[in-house]
């Protein structure tokens, strides 16, 4: 084509640039949260995440001097590092919040009571006082420094392994898996048998049943919340894992049957007819021939159902999560964090990324099946 159309090549750099621009726009919000999850709370609130990627000059929060005192001829000396980072470069510093940039690196500041302080560009300081400073509060230092990118894994450590209030995340992660795996596996078999019957068995009313499936595909699950909650309470399972598994199975079936039926119809007729002629029973045909051949469609549906159940909030809130707080899932946990810790971006970003990580991994590994499923599953 490119050779046929001369204009195409002259246009191509515009196309390349605009696609690049769109892709960057699309990635920007996610990257923002990802980067933020590797920054400390201070860093997140003091500068935008985009400035953390390069070296940046920023005014840093006040640091109170600390260190061991040694007695010398000049007096009592405390030395140390204000900022313990490789590549840090202090461009200005000060000792009061009113004049945070009063001194250049290397200047000697005269403080009260004949004390002096000097800060070098690399962040080391020397504090000299005529008498011992033990027991007195040392002065604070304000610095403006250029720092290289600085990231930390502490947020993830705190979120997953600490026993603080946010230690619930590990529990929520496990709960989400507990909801997801049975809710993905159970509907597949139910649907596969029904799909086979709808695709390859002759019986009156088949067309109507296919139409029913297409109709049920779009029934909003909002309608099912109250009637099913009443039903679950009535049969005694109430709120819990059993209820959420059943609900996800029911809600996933229309798509499962639809996808699998469409795929099975496209299998070559000869194979099935030959097997029938050779005396195979329908059950054997299904298990030995149809199921193995339908693997791509089964995989597509499994991915859909996995993503949907993992990312679901509504069904879990209605059918699973009770007041005990033991059965929360990650989406619900994050919503609760949004309410209670709305400003703590280091917690929110980390929690969100832990919950996003698994579906993203599935997405990138199984994208082929996901795309295939989408193409087969959209009602034509």
């Amino acid at each position: 084509m490119a050779s046929v159309v001369g204009q195409r090549s002259s246009l191509s750099w515009i196309v390349n640039l605009s696609v690049l621009f769109i892709v960057l726009m699309w990635l920007f919000p996610t990257v923002g949260l990802l980067v933020s999850s590797f920054r400390t709370a201070d860093q997140i609130t003091s500068s935008g995440w985009w400035s953390s990627l390069g070296t940046q000059e920023s005014q840093r929060p006040a640091i109170r001097l600390s260190g061991d005192e040694t007695q010398t001829d000049a007096g009592f000396v405390i030395t140390g590092k204000l900022i313990d980072l490789d590549g840090v470069k202090i461009s200005a510093w000060g000792t009061s919040s009113r004049a945070p940039t009063a001194y250049a690196p290397g200047d000697i500041a005269e403080l009260s009571k004949d004390r002096t302080l000097t800060v070098a560009a690399d962040g080391s300081f020397e504090f000299v006082a005529p008498e011992s400073q033990i027991g007195t509060r040392l002065p604070r230092v304000f610095t403006t420094a250029t720092t290289p990118p600085d990231f930390t894994l502490d947020n993830y450590k705190n979120m997953l392994f600490s026993e603080r209030s946010s230690g619930n995340m590990a529990q929520a992660f496990l709960n989400t898996f507990t909801v997801t795996i049975p809710a993905t596996i159970i509907p597949i078999l139910f649907a596969a048998f029904a799909a086979y019957a709808l695709a390859w068995m002759e019986f009156p009313g088949r067309a109507i049943l296919v139409a029913v499936i297409v109709a049920l595909l779009v029934v909003p699950l909002q309608l099912a919340l109250i009637p099913l909650l009443k039903f679950h309470n009535y049969i005694g399972i109430g709120k819990g894992y059993m209820g959420v598994w059943l609900a996800h199975t029911g809600f996933g079936l229309p798509l499962a049957i639809y996808l699998l039926r469409n795929y099975m119809v496209s299998l070559p007729r000869d194979i099935i007819e030959n097997a029938r002629v050779d005396g195979a029973t329908e059950f054997q045909i299904f298990v030995r021939i149809i199921l193995p051949l339908s693997f791509p469609a089964l995989a597509s549906f499994a991915i859909f159902q996995f993503l949907w159940t993992w990312n679901d909030l509504l069904v879990a809130r209605v059918f699973l999560i009770d007041s005990s707080g033991q059965t929360t899932v990650m989406t619900n946990y994050i919503v609760e964090l949004l309410g209670t810790r709305g400003g703590n971006w280091e917690i929110l970003a980390t929690a969100a990324f832990i919950s996003i990580a698994v579906p993203l991994a599935v997405f990138f590994m199984m994208q082929k099946y996901l795309v295939r499923g989408l193409l087969a599953g959209s009602v034509k």
Binding site: L11, L27, T30, I186, I213, F283, L348, Q367
Partner: protein
């Protein structure tokens, strides 16, 4: 019992029951009820084959009937009854009460806005990206990155975008990208964007557009690939420029796919709940039907009005439902 163990047992029992049911019901049918031998062998085989499809269909359709069909009818019934008075029939009172609530009208209006904006923008972006990446050597990488938000939960996406919309007090450095740009290019103080009525609706919609564009792009990209080369080549020979080819040759050939994408996203929009729930919970005039309904059901405990709101969503979905069924039947014929 630990939930993990319970989950494992459920898988084993569920799969076991399922396989056991299909295997044994087929066995019983073939060996005992209609054995393929004796004087009536032929008739028996035919009878067994007539019954077998229903054995295959029974579990799935029983589940569908209970979990999707029955709730539609039960919701309709609940929407016509009053829970406080022991479920007495009240006719359309719940609907009347709902229509008198400003929050419901607000939700309805906002939903209409969502219906106008989100499917249109998602489809347009999806089509644009599908066309631009069509013959790009790194097109599949670009597409997979734009498709990626599909894997992210609505809640996760809400957190992602809340950071973009974040506001810090005036005078401090803005950490939300939107306010950083806003304060950089104007002299105005930063806005708390999610609390600005009317416009905040669009900020929520962007989240869904961001997610759904990938879906539209994947489907439309496949449709563009399916266009016969000859039609495009003929147009080129006739001297059509790329813009003409796109609008006059390509778009008309994929109209039906565009409609499918549009309706699919429309249904998603009607059910949108998580984004609003997580980002504003319907405050500052951002209420939508699904969140209004959730509010009524589980906070106000008003099952009648809640069911009525659910029926409104069902009612709005119905035209698409009928359209899909008609199309599907035409295709199967």
């Amino acid at each position: 019992m630990s939930p993990v163990l319970q989950a494992f047992l459920t898988i084993v029992v569920g799969v076991g029951l399922c396989v056991g049911y299909f295997y044994s019901s087929n066995l019983v049918l073939d060996k005992f009820i209609f054995p393929a031998r004796g004087p009536n062998a032929g008739r028996n085989i035919n009878l067994a084959n007539a019954i077998r499809p229903w054995l295959f269909l029974l579990p799935a359709f029983a589940a569908l009937a209970l979990y999707l069909a029955y709730p539609v009818i039960e919701s309709l019934r609940l929407s016509l009854t009053d829970r406080d008075n022991g479920g007495v029939f009240v006719g359309l009172d719940n609907y009347r009460q709902m229509l008198a609530e400003p929050k419901f009208i607000e939700a309805l209006k906002n939903n209409m806005l969502w219906l106008l904006v989100v499917p249109a923008l998602s489809t347009a972006f999806g089509l644009l990206i599908a066309q631009l990446t069509d013959r790009l050597w790194w097109g599949s990488l670009a597409k997979s990155l734009i498709f990626m938000p599909m894997a992210i939960s609505f809640v996760g996406a809400s957190v992602i975008w809340k950071l973009v919309y974040d506001a810090r007090p005036e005078g401090t450095e803005q950490i939300g990208a939107l306010n950083a740009l806003y304060t950089f290019f104007t002299d105005n103080p930063p806005e708390i964007w999610l609390t600005v009525p009317f416009w905040n609706n669009f900020l929520l919609m962007i989240v869904l557009v961001w997610i759904q564009t990938g879906f539209a792009m994947v489907i439309l990209s496949a449709a563009l690939r399916g266009i016969p080369e000859e039609t495009v080549e003929a147009a080129i020979v006739d001297g059509a420029n790329p813009v003409h080819i796109f609008f006059k040759i390509k778009i008309p050939q994929i109209t039906s796919t565009i409609v499918v994408v549009w309706t699919t996203i429309t249904i998603t929009v009607l059910k949108v709940f998580d984004i609003v729930f997580a980002m504003t919970n319907g405050q500052w005039e951002t209420q939508v039907l699904a969140n209004y309904m959730f509010d009524k059901l589980f906070r106000a405990n008003d099952w009648g009005v809640g069911s009525a709101a659910a029926m409104v969503i069902m009612f709005l979905v119905t035209p698409i439902l009928i359209w899909n069924v008609i199309n599907a039947r035409r295709e199967f014929r």
